[in-house]
């Protein structure tokens, strides 16, 4: 009986564990990655040694751990999609992918995942790929510590850095994305986390977020992107401790919110953006504990927003604190610190005794009549603002912080 067991286990065990290791490289018996993958069985590890691999499109259709040693280079020769992953549970680790194909009909990418789950893409470097890392119908995938750099000039002729479509439970962490169309693109992606990424100098948005519910993004930095970050048509989005910096230009926003509901914006830094936050059709959103420093407009809240709570934020050095386009205000401002507040605090409870109206007369004028911007920083506009402060007539009366703080919050 014992003997039988031993003999049987000899046959069965290799199927469970004891994964084979296949070495691929210039000095090894297997020279090509494709052959290496052919020899591999599901669950095997393929080590790829440093070298230059020009193999066209590499398809991974079984669960393997593909590991590059010292960044072997995979070249797409400007013709091919470099890595296509079609198996669950694969891992791609430590490659350098360059020059993928560019096509307007097919979304060629450096690494593209088709309809799979539990895939990990980590520590890769992508240069000059059309799309960087592309995920469709993915589940439970991890995209971590990759860098992707593109050199596009035009929006139509470029792809996104990390593109996720119809996916669920994705983790995108610690990636660095430069020069793509959208740094990170989310469409129909649920229950996912975007964490600690750095997205800069992308042509359009640093992060583009559509129809994606119940996602969290935290501790990311969005720096100098063409139009900042756009979050649209979603609910249950948590935006925490992100850094929106220097999204500066005619059509640039730190954070553009359109048709968002039931979300949190907490602990973020908005620095030197043309508009810190732009809100349109936003409802039941809490904006808490953010810093707005040196923006053109700290916030633009269109009259189509309702039940937005804006509390305990710092507003410092912004040209305009709040802009709006109508008299209807269904939002609440409370306990914010405004550097332009010149009220007093007699009972010393650190809350100003007179309300603060963050909307200036001139910002209303400009909203109604954009050419009036030519009077920007002229004497008359500051005169108008001063008189309006004393007797508000044009600015919405209910847009007011009744409990402005006297001291800046430390956050």
């Amino acid at each position: 009986m014992k003997l039988y067991l031993i003999i049987a286990s000899l046959f069965i065990l290799p199927k469970f564990g004891f994964a084979n290791i296949i070495q691929v490289g210039p000095g090894k018996s297997i020279k090509q990655i494709k052959t290496g993958i052919q020899f591999a069985k599901s669950g095997d590890t393929v080590f790829v040694h440093p070298g230059f691999y020009r193999e066209g499109n590499i398809v991974i259709a079984k669960k393997i751990y593909l590991k590059g040693i010292k960044f072997p280079v995979l070249d797409g020769e400007n013709k091919f999609e470099i890595l296509s992953i079609k198996a669950n549970g694969s891992t791609i680790d430590g490659f350098k992918l360059i020059h993928s194909g560019v096509s307007n009909l097919e979304d060629y990418a450096g690494i593209k995942m088709y309809d799979c789950r539990d895939v990990t893409i980590q520590n890769n470097q992508l240069f000059d790929t059309y799309f960087g890392i592309y995920l469709q119908y993915g589940k439970n995938c991890i995209i971590r510590n990759n860098t992707t750099t593109a050199y596009y000039k035009e929006e139509q002729q470029s792809g996104n850095g990390i593109h996720c479509w119809k996916s669920d439970s994705i983790l995108i962490e610690g990636n660095h994305i430069v020069g793509h169309r959208d740094g990170i693109y989310f469409e129909f992606v649920m229950h996912s986390t975007i964490k600690g990424n750095y997205s800069e100098h992308n042509i359009r948005y640093g992060l583009h977020f559509m129809y994606s519910n119940d996602d969290t993004y935290l501790s990311n930095t969005f720096f100098s992107n063409g139009a900042g970050v756009a979050v649209m048509y979603s609910h249950g989005v948590h935006m925490l401790r992100n850094n929106f910096r220097e999204n500066w230009g005619d059509a640039a926003y730190g954070l553009l919110l359109k048709e968002i509901s039931d979300s949190y914006i907490k602990g973020n830094q908005f620095n030197k953006n043309t508009s810190g936050i732009y809100m349109e059709g936003v409802s039941r959103v809490k904006v808490l504990g953010n810093n707005f420093f040196n923006n053109g407009w700290a916030m633009k809240i269109q009259a189509s927003c309702m039940e937005v709570d804006i509390a305990r934020n710092n507003f410092m050095g912004n040209t305009f604190d709040v802009g709006t386009n109508g008299n209807l205000v269904l939002n609440r401002f409370k306990n914010n610190y405004w550097d332009k507040y010149d009220g007093y605090d007699i009972n010393k409870d650190h809350v100003g005794d007179i309300p603060y109206r963050p909307v200036s007369m001139y910002s209303m004028i400009v909203e109604k009549n954009p050419p009036a911007m030519i009077l920007f920083r002229s004497f008359i506009t500051s005169l108008l603002d001063k008189t309006e402060k004393i007797i508000p007539s044009l600015t919405p009366i209910s847009l007011v912080d009744n409990f402005p703080l006297m001291k800046m919050l430390n956050q």
Binding site: W248, T319, P371, T381
Partner: protein, 247 residues
Amino acid sequence: MTDILRSKIILIYTLILLIATFCVFGLEDNASKGILSVLNIILIVLPLFSIIFSTIYIYNSSEFIELLVSQPLQRKTIWLSFLIGLAIALSLSFIIGVGIPILLFQLNIIGFLIIFVGVVLSIIFVSIALLAAVQIRDKAKGIGIAILLWIYFSILFDGLVLFLLFQFADYPLEKPMLLVSALNPIDLARILLLLQLDVSAMMGYTGAIFKDFFGTVTGLIISCFVLMLWSAIPMYLSVIKFNKKDL
């Protein structure tokens, strides 16, 4: 001219400009924000001081002018030398008061453009002042007119522009505004300088159209030319008037 330079008021003006500009740059941690505050000095204080100082100076030296006219000197030369003297003195105090701090903190194209614009604005308001002074004999009335002119250029004109913008809000007004801005040297200077600063990004569509014009070399040359015209035309008119004036 040396008597202008020696006058205490000019010295105080220079000193105040110098202190104000240094304070502004010292208070703002960001030099480009400092520039924005300096812009306010240039656009409000400088025209006001130039126009009032020049008018008072001309009225005060009316007897000296009469004396000079009795000498074998061309009237044109007399008047122009007064004008040049005032212009040089005021420009010099501007260059010392504002120019030096700017060059210390912001040594680039914008810095030089600000200095250029400031000098031209000084000259413009000197020549406007002289035109006012030559028109009106009474000193009090003349100074009143000078102040009114300043109020017109720095406040009323913009008020009118705002009024027009709302009256014609249904029309695309960006391009006509280019023309309107040429009708006021202070506005022209403000827009010219603002578009060189990075706050211009906030000016949206209007800013973009303006940038298309002022941002180009031709636009820059045309607007500088218009500013020159603003100094030349009142100067020319005042010379003609002075030539015919019965002293």
